[in-house]
């Protein structure tokens, strides 16, 4: 069975939800098989996920029967879900029972707080190794998806479990949404060793979350940089959590100050702090900084996980694997995904990456072989831990208003340039409502015209 979950003691607890309700590995296997009886192999399935055990069963059920799930958050804007539905015409939709059946679809079955709906769409050809689809920039409803194979998912699960020394005694708290690549990686890397995942829909500023943290004797906590800003504000690093053993971080760069705060906390309290680096395109994670090196290599992304390798491209496009160097970071490993899909036809495409990912990030390798991210070539931002494609937002603005638009900015704030002041507030409200971003993460700026090159290309550095 997928991730070998049937090899774990069937009485052991796989998942605990917010109410403390436990699902054993035996029960999880039962639901995975049940879903397989409802959904034909090679179907395309939309899974609208939230952090409840049913979402994990839905995902694994699809993977195990050879159906291909597209994971999206259950709170995604309805118009954006509809545009994805029109584009990818899935045969089934799995969604939490509390969501409305907006398209009056035929209900096939129910499991663990989820409904299975048949859409009546006709199956179409898809690539034989295609196993899972994740959006690149979920919040903008971009049609661009990352195509994963089962091998990608299992390699990520095993390599991360090995690199982070995850054992069946671990009890991670999953706060990150499971439709984020990192959330998914936490789930897979723990299920593969038979650990117990505590899933929550609550946020770090909910008192109820801290009750769960204590009662469930949480041993590991994973967050994005913004999670650690909240933890710091909550004076988390002044308290002892006796069961907590591992603090891991991904999803962008921590400030040096915060990185050092966590390192100090971990060393004084005898805990491990492991910073990691990854992208959806590499099934979440590529590298980690071993805990014992954290104090020495502040803000480093460390070394590749087992079975992966890094190289840096020099100015002439040659790969270098040793010695000090700075350039685009290239990753090779079994977790490099198959490629992108932007349309239904792209689901027939094979492996376009062949295990090699040009990350679009600029990295520096020091004399000891440790890597540091120093810049980014690609056109996206990470705002409060959410990846937002700048081109996706431009398209969103251009398709909703008769405007020229250019987006740029940094990981603190996105700058949206438009050319007509009467639309300033409308553009801002539209982006906020579609993406769910916090208003302080966006600034709309009106200018006479968008600066372009003679060839008509937007010059982002000169807006």
């Amino acid at each position: 069975m997928v991730l070998n979950i049937n090899q774990v003691n069937s009485e052991a607890t796989a998942i605990i939800d917010d109410e403390g309700k436990a699902l054993t590995y035996g029960q999880l296997c039962h639901y995975v098989e049940l879903i397989g009886t409802q959904i034909p192999t090679r179907s395309v399935v939309f899974v609208l996920s939230k952090n409840i055990p049913g979402s994990v069963a839905a995902l694994l059920g699809c993977l195990n029967c050879g159906a291909v799930p597209l994971l999206i958050g259950s709170e995604t804007d309805a118009d954006l879900v509809d545009s994805l539905l029109q584009l990818y015409r899935p045969q089934y939709i799995l969604q939490p029972t509390d969501l409305p059946n907006r398209h009056h679809l035929e209900k096939k079955a129910e499991f663990l707080g989820f409904d299975i709906f048949a859409t009546g769409e006709v199956p179409y050809p898809i690539y034989r190794d295609l196993a899972l689809l994740l959006p690149t920039s979920g919040s903008t409803g971009s049609p661009k998806l990352v195509r994963h194979s089962l091998n990608n998912i299992e390699a990520n699960a095993k390599n991360v479990a090995e690199g982070l020394s995850i054992s069946l005694k671990d009890r991670p708290l999953l706060i990150l949404p499971m439709h984020y690549t990192m959330g998914l990686s936490i789930i897979c890397s723990h299920l593969v060793v038979g650990a117990t995942i505590v899933m929550t829909e609550k946020t770090l500023t909910d008192r109820a979350l801290w009750k769960v943290f204590e009662e469930q004797k949480i041993t590991s906590l994973t967050g994005v940089p913004f999670s650690f800003e909240i933890l710091n504000k909550l004076r988390f690093f002044r308290n002892d959590f006796p069961y907590l053993n591992l603090i891991s971080q991904g999803g962008g760069k921590l400030s040096q100050e915060l990185f050092s705060t966590i390192v100090t906390y971990a060393s004084e309290r005898g805990k491990r702090f492991v910073a990691t680096y990854g992208q959806t395109e590499a099934t979440a994670r590529m590298s980690y900084l071993p805990a014992e090196k954290a104090a020495e290599k502040i803000c480093s992304i460390g070394l590749p996980f087992p079975n992966g390798t890094f190289a840096i491209l020099d100015e002439n496009g040659n790969e270098t694997i040793t010695g000090e160097a700075t350039g685009e970071l290239v990753f090779k490993g079994p977790n490099v995904t198959l490629g992108y899909a932007k349309s239904i036809e792209d689901l027939t495409l094979g492996d376009e990456n062949n295990g090699i990912l040009f990350t679009g990030d600029i990295a520096m390798r020091d004399g000891d072989g440790y890597y540091f991210i120093v810049g980014r070539k690609s056109r996206f931002l990470k705002l409060y831990g959410i990846r937002v494609g700048l081109d996706d937002v431009e398209n969103l603005v251009k398709s909703n208003f008769p405007l020229d638009c250019a987006c740029t900015g940094n990981d603190d704030k996105m700058l949206v340039y438009i050319t007509d002041s009467t639309y300033e507030e409308k553009v801002k409200q539209m982006i906020l409502s579609k993406t769910g971003l916090f208003h302080q993460a966006i600034e709309v700026i009106v200018k006479d015209e968008i600066t372009r090159s003679q060839a008509g290309k937007v010059i982002y550095s000169q807006q």
Partner: protein
Amino acid sequence: MTTLEQLVKIFADTFQVSTEQITDGFSSETVDNWDSVTQLSLVTTVEDTFDIMLDTDDILDFKSFSKAKEIIAKYGINP
């Protein structure tokens, strides 16, 4: 601006609503976009404006306008 007016303005700015909407009933239960991002922003602005530092319990309890008034009063800021 009185302390109360300052507090109302912080809430209105954070949640992007008019100051008339900031009443005692304004809480995480009734406001859609009240999440960890808005809460952190709210607490940070309150701390900076009134030059106070809230403890963990007070940050976790900072979930409504009426509670906010109560909490800042504990730090000697009387709305």
